[in-house]
Symmetry: C2
Subunit: 525 residues, 2 copies
């Protein structure tokens, strides 16, 4: 294990479960030396723009905020908070207000937010850090459809949702259970949040996201955390987060601001992500999309600090492009990948954690297009220093579908990125001059002492890629990676074991859900 | 075309053929605003290591060169050149010498090499710059097999070779015709170089690589260039390059040094690429593999400068990994991707052009595994600032097979990288505050003046990806990207038109080949 010992100390804390027994005999894809509750990035960020260009982008954000303003709807309480803080409020109608902010004002308001915070998991070994050089991978979020190679595309159900939570929990390369992994469309809209939060709590022991679709559903999500973690703990620790979209361009509606308020008031985390489809709801030049993204996300972040200074908050951006012949949104394309790198630079300038990019793909199949697009997008997230990477697994069909196969393919890719983010150690041991000197020119190194010291952890060991010679691969049926992934997720579900939960906690959660469900009629909107 | 006009001047010269008529009506995948004879990188390099770590790697290289030395075989002339230059020669046997070099000596010898040079094409509009911020994509090189979805894997033939030259010529996203795109195994080993060089000359009008498998085949390649370009032009311009592998670890055999000498003596270019499979012929810690790579490649580069100071030369590295359970080589993995970034840093330190990485893949199919691996590897090449990227198209099956489908998939990815390498322009026009101000909050931007000014060139427009909605894609047959690529290469070959060539030149080349072929018996080794 000298390879590991000689790495810089910041290359990552070792997970408790993985610290012992790093050995190639553990079976493919285990890579115990790489298993961590969250990644500590040991490579520098990829900084695309110079300070002058970043200044111009920040000035663009300030021009949007001071000259055009943000529109607020149906939430006079939030409008009052911003008015008192110095925003220039114009009443557009009885339920709509435009607020303009002097240059620098929003950035100042955000200064009370932590640069880095902990989101606690019910298994303390799985708590994650969000911010700084920490990096957290979470599954994709929000698809109405699911797909797999056997049954094609269909609407998601709670059974799919539970399966996907289990698949996430089964992967050592995700750190967070995510939120709406797929929409469980077989449950009423006003009740499905209860089943989703329960599934995360019961089938995973990692952190997760709560509901944001209505203030009362946000409150329910937090209340369930009080049952799981205890009220006192919840009041002083972040145990849940909400992932919010602005209504681009430049609108924050009342449902969103009230749900943001619910999370912030409870001291819980929130993520603020404009979903910017260039040419539709944002300029189709990337600099403008970034400036707008910052204006919207920073305003939402500022609201949390007005509600409760110090509430954990995450700057966000979901930059996407269009196929301009057809008007279809496209994902995993080059321009948004560059934009994600710049979002990383701006987040560090503002000293905020960042959510950006993910394993995006436009493809409708877990094929070459899908994985090429996913890798380009995901590389931008990890190189840009994003801290919370939602959509790390399963994203297909422009986010309309959650793919079982791509979920496990993406998890394997996330594993490879653990190795990537570990960087290169340069010292006498890794330079290995003795390895070459032992036999001298022209002789292979298979048996050298250096090779024997390092072979156990030298390279990323994939659980899914086929590295065999063509002949062996062909004799075994010549399956492509999608077919192998199909077999893999079925194996993982067959072998899944739920993490332990105290029976009284489980009963209390079920009781809460039952009472909530009987308290209201089903609503399907 | 304001988007383009507002980009920084260094964002790339526009190709003559592409300057007019950038319009979405040109058909998908054309992207005329991105077409260039070679890329001028408008984004910064991704610098992984600090100066201290780079110093340690250079010191490692110097320790290898001064303490272990490089072994030379069967070429006393080359040994004498290094002896006179100050190398400490030890005779190992009558045909084998070990030469040790004082720290700094090899780096000093390389200082006469140009930091950047032009390789001329027979169509002057297609000449490429190699070095600095220029970047050239060339097809994959050296596979004995070819494969496609219709006929599976089989040995390559000259018909395949010609097809692949034509496919390369058909893509706007490659800049160079490459070399041994596949081995034409139906032609004798001692004659196939003539047919390969002819195919590049006849079916492409871009630059290409010549033979390196024997000194006389190198001479033939250069002589054919004298017919094509004229002897005087060849003596004073680089029109061909040889791509050389060292015999790792730490050996340069006589066939290689003599062929290197042939290119350098003629003032032609050469590329020096250790193929380092970690654990087999190099340390399996990346720092050590890089130090060894530099020791081997820099020594070969130094030879060219002893033969002819100022001869164009390219530092090279092909870093790869192993599946340590099986001993199989693996490609497109995370550790070599990091190594490529460091190779870029070292090339800039040594002021040499760099060949590194490419569209590597271990997969045996043009599937998700293949394209995920390819993108990780290729991103490292372009982010690391590699100048000549061989293996940009078609690499599959760990380089054993050239895939027709992956060739066109990779070409499309290379197009996306043109957009990526163009970077993000940040100015008043691209910030587009007016685009948001025109309609204000809550209103889409489809019809704004800013959108209309930019939509023609805003985003990379793929010729191969399917960006349609699921329903449309499904109604059209639901083909995955490999199947679409299969259709695409057949269309391209059906529509291929050879570039014009003067009849007397063509006849002179054919006459040279005929005379050479009749002058010797077939040899199959």
């Amino acid at each position: 294990m000298l390879a590991e010992g000689s790495r810089p100390a910041r290359a990552g804390r070792r997970a408790r479960r993985g610290a012992a027994g790093a050995d190639r005999t553990d079976g493919p894809g285990q890579n115990p030396h790489l298993q961590v509750p969250y990644i500590t990035r040991a490579i520098p960020t990829y900084d695309l723009l110079g300070e002058g260009a970043l200044d111009r982008i920040e000035a663009g954000m300030d021009r949007i905020l001071s000259e055009i303003g943000i529109e607020f709807r149906d939430d006079p309480t939030t409008v009052d908070l911003f008015r008192v803080a110095g925003g220039k409020v114009t009443e557009v109608s009885r339920t709509v207000w435009n607020i303009k902010f002097e240059p620098g004002m929003i950035r100042d308001l955000v200064k009370t937010a932590p640069e880095r915070f902990t989101q606690h998991a019910r298994n303390p070994a799985n708590s994650v850090e969000i911010g700084g050089d920490a990096m957290v991978f979470a599954p994709s979020y929000g698809s109405p459809f699911v797909m797999d190679l056997d049954n094609g595309r269909r609407y998601g159900t709670i059974a799919d949702f539970e399966n996907l939570v289990k698949l996430g929990q089964s992967s050592p390369w995700l750190h967070h259970s995510g939120g709406t992994i797929c929409e469980p469309t077989d449950i009423a809209v006003n009740k499905r949040h209860l089943d989703m939060v329960y599934a995360h709590m019961r089938y995973s022991d990692r952190p997760f996201l709560g509901s944001i679709t209505a203030p009362e559903r946000a409150e329910d999500s937090i209340e369930m955390c009080r049952i799981l973690f205890g009220s006192d703990f919840v009041d002083s620790h972040c145990v849940i987060m909400g992932n919010f979209n602005t209504t681009s361009p430049l609108v924050l509606d009342g449902v969103t601001t009230q749900a943001i308020t619910a999370y912030a008031r409870a001291g819980q985390g929130s993520i603020h992500v404009p979903f910017l489809l260039g040419g539709a709801v944002a300029p189709l030049t990337m600099a403008g999309a970034i400036a707008q993204c910052l204006a919207e996300s920073m305003t939402a972040c500022a609201l949390t600090q007005l509600v409760r200074p110090g509430a954990p908050v995450v700057l966000g951006g979901f930059l996407s492009s269009m196929a301009l012949r057809t008007g279809s949104p496209t994902f995993g394309t080059p321009e948004p990948a560059l934009g994600s790198l710049v979002m990383g630079q701006m987040a560090r300038r503002f000293k905020l954690p960042l959510r950006c990019a993910g394993n995006f793909a436009t493809s409708k199949m877990p094929d070459g297009q899908a994985m090429q697009q996913a890798m380009m997008s995901m590389m931008s997230a990890v190189q840009g220093g994003a801290n919370f990477i939602l959509h790390s697994a399963g994203f297909l069909d422009g986010l309309l579908s959650m793919s079982y196969e791509k979920f496990v393919m993406d998890c394997d890719m996330c594993g490879a990125l653990h190795a990537y983010l570990n960087g290169i150690a340069v010292d006498d041991e890794t330079l290995g001059i003795d390895a070459l000197a032992e036999q001298g020119p022209g002789e292979h190194l298979f048996g050298t002492a250096h090779t024997l010291r390092h072979y156990k952890a030298a390279y990323w060991d994939s659980a899914l890629n086929d590295d065999q010679p063509y002949e062996t691969w062909s004799e075994q049926g010549g399956a492509d990676s999608a077919i192998r992934a199909n077999r893999r997720w079925k194996e993982l579900l067959a072998n899944y074991q739920p993490p332990p939960m105290a029976e009284d906690t489980d009963l209390a959660l079920k009781d809460f859900i039952a009472r909530k469900k009987t308290s209201m009629l089903d609503a399907w909107y």
